[in-house]
């Protein structure tokens, strides 16, 4: 990296560190064509870039004053050095890997940990959804992540709780390519419960953020993060979403960027699927499984098999009548063993043994005393 690039990166970090500077305000700040260096120079001098008047609203002047103070107090070289010390690298728009060339709201830069070459990994599919997801949703997300990763698709997600985490866990299980986009500094793990996943994504994949290290979580940073997820993916798959929520915001961002949006159909009684079902009504393509997504990517699913992650089942027996009956019962969701006894009409020991053998063959999954559809059905 040249000295000039290094100076530019340091200045971009300073700008990215300004308090309350989201994508819209950033666009506004740069709208008069000033360079990053020029913007910082004017802010340091206690002025907005030429041609801009202070934003209206009660908080506007206060925010601008905070920018002035921050611009003059942050030392660019120290800031860049603190990234080096924390093992976080910086990538600016001058890089040939820069993925946001035609983006309407590109970030100033990205900070990253992991294999930056994965930024160009194609195809890439974002698997996203609500944090308040159901067990079924989490399983679907994990399975989608695993199957798509197995088929060679890079899985993009936001490392939030719920669907986001599940999809990455699935992708990691098939040792696939994972790309995490977070809304805090890379040294500020949020949510804390995902710290192991966080480490794994940066170790075996790529973790990126548009914020300098030390940036703490703030509500507005997550919608901003969503636009990067949409920008990096060829297809955005929403696994579960309530009627309002961040996932639908990502959908808007994906639509703005001409990305394909797909939704996983859910039960009409599940609040966690209300948003995704509405997407389907609005004309989104349904994504029942990885094969549907691969179809949309125009990947020949015959060559990768429609169920990519199905393990080879040795001496796969044809289903017995009773097994078929049980599969039909659990098809639409979890069923308690007590309900299956009524249907099956066999003793509890025989039924438990049958279900356990079906679970070990992957036909069903046993979750406590609830029987769920399995990975191989």
């Amino acid at each position: 990296m040249t000295a000039k690039q290094s100076v530019d990166q340091a200045q971009r970090l300073v700008l990215a560190k300004l308090p309350g500077l989201g994508p819209a305000r950033l666009r506004w700040l740069m709208s008069e064509g000033a360079s990053v260096a020029e913007v910082i120079e004017s802010l340091k001098a206690g002025q907005l870039p030429p041609g801009l008047s202070p934003p209206r609203g009660a908080k506007g002047p206060e925010l601008v004053r905070a920018w002035f103070a921050a611009a003059s107090s942050i030392n660019p070289d120290d800031l860049l050095e603190s990234h080096r010390q924390k093992g976080v690298s910086v990538l600016g728009p001058e890089s040939e890997l820069w993925p946001f060339i035609n983006d309407p709201e590109p970030p100033l830069l990205i900070t990253y940990a992991g294999n930056i070459g994965l930024l160009k990994s194609r195809p890439a599919v974002a698997i996203i959804g609500t944090r308040r997801c159901t067990t079924v949703g989490r399983k679907v997300a994990a399975k989608l992540g695993a199957d798509l990763a197995e088929a060679g698709v890079a899985v993009v997600s936001g490392l939030a709780n719920g669907i986001d985490a599940a999809s990455h866990m699935g992708a990691l299980k098939s040792q696939g390519t994972v790309l995490g986009v977070v809304g805090t500094g890379l040294d500020v793990v949020y949510p804390r419960s995902n710290r192991e996943l966080w480490g794994q994504v940066s170790n075996s994949g790529l973790l990126i953020s548009e914020y300098p290290v030390g940036t703490t979580p703030e509500n507005w940073r997550f919608p901003a993060r969503n636009r990067l997820i949409a920008a990096l993916a060829d297809i955005v798959v929403v696994v579960e979403s309530h009627t309002k929520g961040g996932s639908l915001h990502t959908v808007d961002e994906a639509n703005d960027r001409g990305r394909i949006v797909m939704a996983v159909p859910g039960s009409v009684t599940s609040a966690a699927s209300a948003g995704t079902n509405q997407l389907l009504v609005d004309g989104c393509s349904p994504a029942r499984n990885a094969a549907d997504v691969l179809d949309a990517l125009s990947i020949n699913t015959c060559s990768v098999s429609t169920r990519p992650s199905r393990p080879a089942v040795p001496d796969r027996q044809p289903l017995s009548l009773l097994q078929g009956l049980i599969l039909a019962e659990v098809e639409t969701g979890g069923v308690h063993i007590d309900d299956l006894i009524q249907v099956a009409g066999i003793s509890i020991v025989d039924l438990l043994a049958l279900i356990q053998s079906m679970a070990q063959a992957g036909l069903v999954a046993l979750d406590g005393s609830t029987v769920l559809p399995g990975a191989n059905t």
């Binding site: 067990t135 719920g162 866990m169 990691l172 599940s270 966690a272 308690h336 020991v349 279900i355 406590g368």
Partner: protein
């Protein structure tokens, strides 16, 4: 399902964990379990009576505790109240009062980690050792542990998606129960509120006498094997006392390879299988019996678990 699990627990002395929403009848099931246990023999009756009397519990008329006791301490109970102790005079705690009976811990996750930890040694050895500055005493504490939990903090659980607990709250809640204690429960079942018809008509259940007779018969078999109950079969005698068919061995090998059970779990599953086979009057453990024993210890599958091949980071 729940009734059958009770029968297995009573017959083999296997610790039982029930999870289910409030109103699913967990407490009722626990008290039903103690009713299935056979009457105490003279030696045990005397011992239980001594412990109860030392603890200051009122004795039944006649002065002798003939039936297995059930103790259900509240989760707010102090450590001393649970395991015993005291300053001037040592008194037995709840776990000793449950000797030869059932210790029912409702809302298991609400007990303090210290209290749950204190259960481990008695569960292993059947006695509790309490040491104080003045002296140390060993008190009997061999009990059948029955735990009950709600599926999640809000207690509603139910079908997927109907609950309003966040992932984080669920994770916190289940973490409290994780670890070595959870491993001691050989039988883990989910219970649901009974159907209205069951509440009104009582269903077509077998009576306590009928089930109790089967329980007593299985316990008698255990005595012939020179073990207290099937749950107490030493691991080195399993091949002799609970022989597996080739098919059953394959099922276990498959479960081990898929990490469905641990090495410790393997021993426990085989003990449960012994009890299930005894209840069916079978001497050898076949695939059906071993599979049903595996299903009885099924853990909630955790999609959020970190893939094991990746190991831990940082």
């Amino acid at each position: 399902m729940a009734r059958w699990a009770l029968e297995v627990a009573a017959a083999g002395g296997h610790h039982l964990l029930m999870s289910g929403p409030p109103g699913a009848g967990k407490t009722m099931l626990a008290s039903r379990l103690v009713g299935l246990l056979p009457e105490l023999d003279a030696h045990d009756a005397l011992l239980v009576t001594k412990v109860h009397s030392a603890a200051g519990i009122g004795l039944p008329s006649g002065g002798l505790v003939r039936f297995p006791p059930m103790r259900a301490p509240h989760h707010g109970a102090s450590l001393v109240a649970l395991v015993g102790g005291g300053t001037s005079t040592m008194r037995p705690g709840e776990i000793s009062c449950a000797h030869n009976g059932v210790l029912f811990l409702d809302e298991l996750g609400e007990f303090s980690p210290a209290a749950l930890d204190a259960l481990r040694q008695p569960l292993e050895e059947g006695v509790v050792r309490v040491a104080r500055a003045a002296r140390a005493v060993t008190m009997p504490a061999r009990f059948l542990l029955v735990g009950a939990t709600n599926p999640c903090p809000c207690g509603e659980g139910g079908p997927p998606g109907s609950c309003r607990c966040s992932d984080a709250a669920r994770a916190r809640y289940s973490r409290r129960l994780s670890g070595p204690l959870l491993d001691r429960f050989d039988l883990r079942i989910e219970v649901r509120p009974p159907a209205p018809s069951m509440l009104l008509d009582g269903g077509d259940e077998e009576t306590t006498e009928v089930v109790g007779a089967r329980v007593a018969a299985v316990r008698e078999l255990a005595r012939h094997r020179r073990v207290r109950t099937n749950a107490g079969i030493p691991s080195e005698r399993l091949d002799e006392l609970a022989p597996l068919t080739d098919g059953a061995r394959d099922v276990l090998r498959d479960a081990l390879e898929r990490n469905l059970i641990t090495g410790r779990g393997l021993v426990r599953v085989r003990r449960v299988a012994r009890t299930v086979a005894d209840l069916r009057n079978e001497s050898v453990i076949d695939t059906t019996v071993i599979s049903s024993a595996l299903a009885l210890r099924s853990e909630p599958t955790d999609v959020l678990a970190i893939p094991s091949h990746l190991g831990s980071v940082r």
